[in-house]
């Protein structure tokens, strides 16, 4: 008997089932199909300005910084300002995201390079798939558009988030992800990010910048 067969046999013996019972199979199929939602916190059930405000409040509570810009066209200038204020070189790494590519980077003094991070980049820009207001959490999806290494390796992670992509709860975010990728399908990596990297492993003292970014800066595009 293979390890797999024996494990399944023991599970079924312990549960007192054969594994072929139609009602059990139906229950499982039904749950996978319908994906019931459970208890959803009221706090995120907001619209418009109130929803955006909750996202900002929660992201800042998790020690991210947030700046709002009126249009995507203003994002590069806001990012250049942020780097200058942080005493960083005017250099960023980013992927092939078309929404980022359409922004007027040439109007700033920023030096932009493309691709994944090799661990040498101080600052990088990714575009978020969504922001979840209930906890100020960003949802980042992997791919050549927004490489996962840009979320994790730079000291300063900068994320552009569109207001229309801010949702109240995780379940609404998953519904949008299923629309984009198909039911049951996922990009290789989905990173939920809530604030910059931290550790409290030494004497339970909270310190920022453990292995991931020391700072997380969110550029929230209105409209």
């Amino acid at each position: 008997m293979t390890a797999r067969d024996e494990i399944f046999a023991t599970i079924r013996r312990s549960l007192g089932v054969k594994g072929t019972e139609a009602p059990r199979r139906h229950i499982v199929q039904e749950r996978l199909e319908s994906a019931p939602k459970g208890a959803i916190p009221q706090r995120g059930q907001l619209i418009g300005e109130a929803l955006i405000d909750l996202f900002k409040t929660q992201a800042e509570a998790a020690m991210a910084s947030v700046v709002e810009v009126d249009s995507a066209m203003d994002a590069p200038a806001a990012i250049a300002d942020y780097l200058r204020a942080s005493n960083l070189p005017a250099r960023i790494k980013m992927g092939d995201d078309l929404r980022l590519a359409a922004m007027p980077w040439g109007d700033t003094a920023l030096e932009v390079s493309k691709g994944r991070s090799d661990g040498q980049d101080l600052a990088a820009v990714n575009h978020a798939f969504a922001g979840v207001a209930e906890t100020g959490t960003l949802t980042m999806t992997s791919g050549p558009e927004n490489p996962s290494t840009l979320n994790l390796l730079p000291d300063y992670a900068i994320v552009v988030l569109q207001s229309k992509d801010v949702v109240g709860d995780y379940e609404t975010m998953w519904a949008r992800l299923r629309e984009a990728y198909g039911k049951g399908q996922m990009p290789r990596t989905v990173n939920w990010i809530t604030g910059p990297s931290r550790s409290a492993d030494i004497e339970q003292t909270l310190l920022l910048g453990a292995h991931g970014p020391r700072s997380l800066h969110i550029v929230l595009v209105k409209g």
Partner: protein, 477 residues
Amino acid sequence: MTLHVTSPQFKDNAHRALQDEQLQKAMGNVRQGFIDKRAVVAAKLPEFEALRDSARDIKNHALAHLDLYLEQYESKVTAAGGHVHWARTAEEARGAILDICRRVGARTVTKGKSMISEEIELNTALEAAGIRPVETDLGEYIIQLRGEIPSHIIAPAVHLNATQVESDFRRVHTHLDPARDLSQPVQLLTEARGVLRDRFLAADVGITGANFLIAETGTSVIVTNEGNGDLTQTMPKVHIVIASLEKIVPTLEDVSQILRVLARSATGQEMSVYTTFSTGPRRPQDVDGPEEYHVVILDNGRSSMLGTAFQDMLRCIRCGACMNHCPVYHAVGGHAYGWVYPGPMGAVLSPSLIGVDKAGHLPNASTFCGRCESVCPVRIPLPKLMRHWRDREFERHLQPATLRTGIGSWGFFARRPRLYRLATSVAMRGLALLGRNKGRFTSLPLAGGWTDYRDFPAPQGATFQDQWKSRKAEGRR
């Protein structure tokens, strides 16, 4: 390979721990660090109790249909281009991981924090095969340098003080300036970040655990604050997940319910910094991510817990709230428990995995105060399960004769209520008389285990039952 287990020596371990000044100082951080934060963040979410019910129900549903969800999970992992390996025992799990590492010629392996990796003693096996494992969670990195096992399931180095970490870094990081200042925790963190950054970039294989395995999508999920596990599974060419089979949850919605109670119960955060969902290897057009993705699913005795009273324990999501709130854990720390799982959850799980003959002391190391159950995010009846183990231990005659005689004679009286009342009232009056001068006893025959560390208060005269009776009588009046 023999397991490193000192649970049979729990009493000696506990005595040593109580006299260890460094440990006692460090354990103060647990008492202060976790309890208030959890209470504050739970109070901020009106749905918290409903979410605990929801998390319990989801885990119960998944366990009741575990075979079917595992089949679904396996087919989704395979469809996404990943590989699932099944391991009945720790040895089979180590074997599966070593085979992959050898095939790709791995020399260095980075690791995210994984209790299953501790359970199967993976690092020892990797080292024996000439492969260097590098723990990347700061706490795990520190204890790896010291050759220790974690003393807490989410804060592995919680038993240490910063000065101890400083001396370990000076001992091991000999390539750095000996005159450097490491007096502040932030300097220790920065040094570890620098050293480990190179390891992330150089590793051939990344090994992580999983907080959850999602059947709907074939996804493994890890939760970290540092970003270490996330880098571990993104940078190397091969990502291996090692997870026990009860980690399965049906859908993305289900995992979201449980994530809402996990960080709040564990660290008192609304959400951990990084929650990373991995599905298969990198896609053809991707510019980063691993080229191979493997999941090793470990049983190691868990499938036999299904259908028994201990099935409830398989709901555990390893948040650590039970030990954070446990007066026994606070007093003796995690290492006294003698194996990888400490605190109340360890007291219930360890006897299932390594045998009640070895771990029988652990379910006895409880005051039955019930705080563990009151904070458990998936509502595991931990005191009840500890009582089950005590019953089994008694049935199997595993306790020493004096204890059995003691319990036996208590049982004799307890079954004869009138005799019990008489005996206790005589004993309490006697003790009250003896202790009337000081109001306490500094030593008592047969109770040295208590009076060596604290005084025994002298009874005030009436027994509990007497007082209860007179209170009820007053209430009626």
